[in-house]
Symmetry: C2
Subunit: 445 residues, 2 copies
């Protein structure tokens, strides 16, 4: 993309209404614009990153054997009355009346609707196990929306639902989700720690939240320092293997890691003192096993191998897709702006022409641009007729992990400058080597 043809309305001033770094930086980098309280338009740069995150979530869910579909944003109140949650859900539920005076609502979650889909079609244990998921906009009418996309009202969420014959099978589905979530977050450059959690209005006993450590996190977290050494990495996993998935669960949840909601001083005291850490965390996902709560209430039963009807065991599993942008920025920024991890960066590399209009510099930039595109990489080329300082500031603000700077002086010596956004380190090298180096970096992402 050539910046002269893009729509990237960066702001010079820091918006007064933004209290935390991610909100401030998303506004300044031209990623979002508030449409109304807690509701945002995703400007081109923000939308691009949102899509990258959504794609990672899709890929990892499909890899785990979960099946994508899409439920609508608006729901009839009927199903919620059937489950008993229509009255139980507070004023966060946006209730709507249509022109025929039917009670509708903007879905804050989809347990009822997916259970209704399941019971409409599935009759036999032979059609299990089954995990369906979707990535769809949700609405929660927060009384005081704030922190930008971190606590908005209209937000994008991945929510998945497993249907299994037995508790044992459902816990395997739970474990599959834990594994796929660990993989997803790592691909986004995040360490998200599974912590024992409260189930809240969803219900159920087994539940873990995934928290990203960040000073601005909404939750206080308590954890064993050993936990931050764990990496899922590039290990192979067979999602059909109960043992393998269970092993990952045990590895990642056996050490103490809890939020203030479930923190237990007695258990905490058993953690060696030098390994106890108290910090703050941002919740970016949660998995639940809730057994037959909804299947009993809504009569979602299957015939088992013994010929008897039994309610299915279910769980639901969510990732806060739009919220993740905020979480990633909270964990990856400095005074100059955002620092995108390679897995989610909107463009792979920035090209800064420090002397636009200079025939040689223009030609070298064009060559670089074409070389990157040829390799399947997406460069953002700042071809505008502006001062170099402003171009650098924009690149630093929007946070592309790599920048190639091109100017007449370097070109005389046959080199361009390659700069890492994260370390700030630069090196001079011939253009073709800069291209090869960037390509090698992304080949490993």
């Amino acid at each position: 993309m050539r910046l002269s043809r893009y729509f990237l309305p960066v702001l010079k001033e820091t918006p007064a209404e933004a209290q935390i770094a991610s909100h401030r930086l998303m506004l300044r980098a031209g990623m979002i614009k508030q449409a109304s309280a807690g509701i945002y338009s995703w400007l081109p740069l923000g939308y691009k990153i949102l899509k990258k995150i959504e794609t990672i979530v899709h890929e990892e869910q499909v890899r785990a054997g979960h099946i994508p579909m899409l439920m609508p944003t608006l729901q009839s109140a009927d199903l919620w009355k059937e489950s008993g949650r229509y009255d139980a859900y507070g004023p966060e539920m946006l209730r709507i009346r249509d022109r025929q005076d039917r009670d509708m609502l903007y879905g804050p979650t989809n347990e009822e609707m997916i259970t209704d889909i399941f019971r409409s079609y599935v009759r036999s244990y032979k059609d299990l196990p089954l995990t369906l998921y979707h990535i769809q906009w949700k609405f929660r009418d927060e009384i005081r929306p704030r922190f930008g996309v971190m606590r908005g009202r209209e937000f994008l969420m991945k929510d998945g639902y497993n249907f299994d014959l037995t508790k044992e099978d459902a816990l395997h589905a739970y474990n599959r989700h834990l594994v796929s979530y660990l993989r997803s977050y790592e691909r986004m450059g995040l360490q998200a720690i599974p912590m024992r959690a409260d189930s809240g209005p969803i219900g159920g006993d087994d539940t873990h939240e995934f928290l990203v450590l960040a000073e601005t996190g909404e939750s206080e977290v308590f954890y064993d320092a050993e936990i931050t050494d764990l990496k899922f990495g590039d290990r192979e996993i067979d999602y059909d293997s109960v043992e393998q998935c269970q092993g990952v669960l045990e590895e990642f949840t056996s050490r103490y890691a809890r939020t203030d909601e479930t923190h237990d001083e007695a258990v905490w005291a058993d953690v060696p003192e030098d390994r106890r850490r108290v910090a703050r965390g941002i919740e970016v996902g949660q998995i639940f096993y809730f057994g037959t709560k909804y299947s009993e209430a809504m009569n979602a039963v299957v015939q088992g191998p013994d010929g008897k009807q039994a309610p299915v065991h279910m769980g639901s599993h969510g990732i806060g897709v739009s919220r993740l942008l905020g979480a990633i920025i909270e964990a990856n920024h400095d005074d100059k702006g955002i620092i995108w991890p390679e897995g989610v960066t909107p463009f792979h590399v920035g090209i800064v022409n420090i002397k636009s209009g200079d025939a040689e510099a223009d030609a070298a930039c064009e060559d670089l641009y074409k070389s990157f595109v040829k390799l399947g990489l997406e460069p953002l080329y700042d071809d505008r007729n502006e001062r170099a300082g402003g171009k650098f500031a924009t690149m630093d603000l929007i946070g592309l992990p790599w920048r190639v700077t091109v100017g007449p002086r370097g070109l005389k010596n046959g080199v361009v400058e390659l700069t890492s956004r994260r370390t700030g380190e630069s090196e001079e090298l011939p253009p073709e080597e800069a291209v090869a180096k960037i390509a090698a970096i992304y080949a490993g992402v």
Copy 2:
């Protein structure tokens, strides 16, 4: 995908509520399930096709130089009061009051919001031309939703908006959209004819609708038979070239083609009698140039090269993404079911094992499956332990354009059967030749 692990709830009975073929077939093929009146869940198969259509629309918009972003589903009423449309828009607008008693609405379209975004950031003609678009769920509270996704209430639409300094530039944007729409529809296997249209509540003088000919179309259409010979084909186009885009507009709109809303008997009489056709059509898109209607009402002005402030010239351009599934099926089906064009088929090829459990047949199917996957193709393998007749019926119903049938008898002679869904023609050939033939077909799509 192995059918035993997929969720494809096909129905044997024809649902009574469905009046037209596409609605009937989408329900029977397990593509959609009604959630409430005019609101549908997209089951896995339907979602997969919806995504394919969305991807084609994205690719062709980006190719034309238009920039993707995303606006929210819920809008504040304030902007609509500013443009004057809040009162003008009838009961089709779903009006919502949030917990703070603010007037909101579920967006039926986005002229106001995009104009607000534009005026918030753009000050100079130097930032033009600019075309922004998004693909987002919309809501129109139809009094009598029907025909499935063809006339639903919650529907997915691509809507794009161009901002230009002059009428001339805006008409070039109009032409770019016409070209990109022709390309998009052709990639989906559709012939959509641009017809002179009425502007309705959007306003403006220049507007064309795109109509797909189908018996069940909601509009009566009148056209010169020569028009159906026109193909955009694989010609190269430079979207920056005013002449090239204008040339395509002239080529595709110079012959008589109108809906009943704009039909003019006097002009119609000039069409040679043997070329006059009266038929029915389904609207799948519309483009508008409406000048300064919204920019004046909402003060979206830029400084021109002469230093003077002037309201920008705008247009809006829509493709009914979810409705397209219905339109494609109306134009591509027979008594047995759907016949997907190769460009949008959910799976490239079906593999039917007519003797599941037979070691040789199972192994041959596995080999075929892996060969297709290796070539980047997505097969749907019916590995269920069911009768061959049922498997054929399912494949015919869901409409994959190509089917490979594998059985012990053929394997003894070293062959499998390759069948075209559209023609019904079959041929026997060695498995590797069947794979090569399918690969060659999709290489050209």
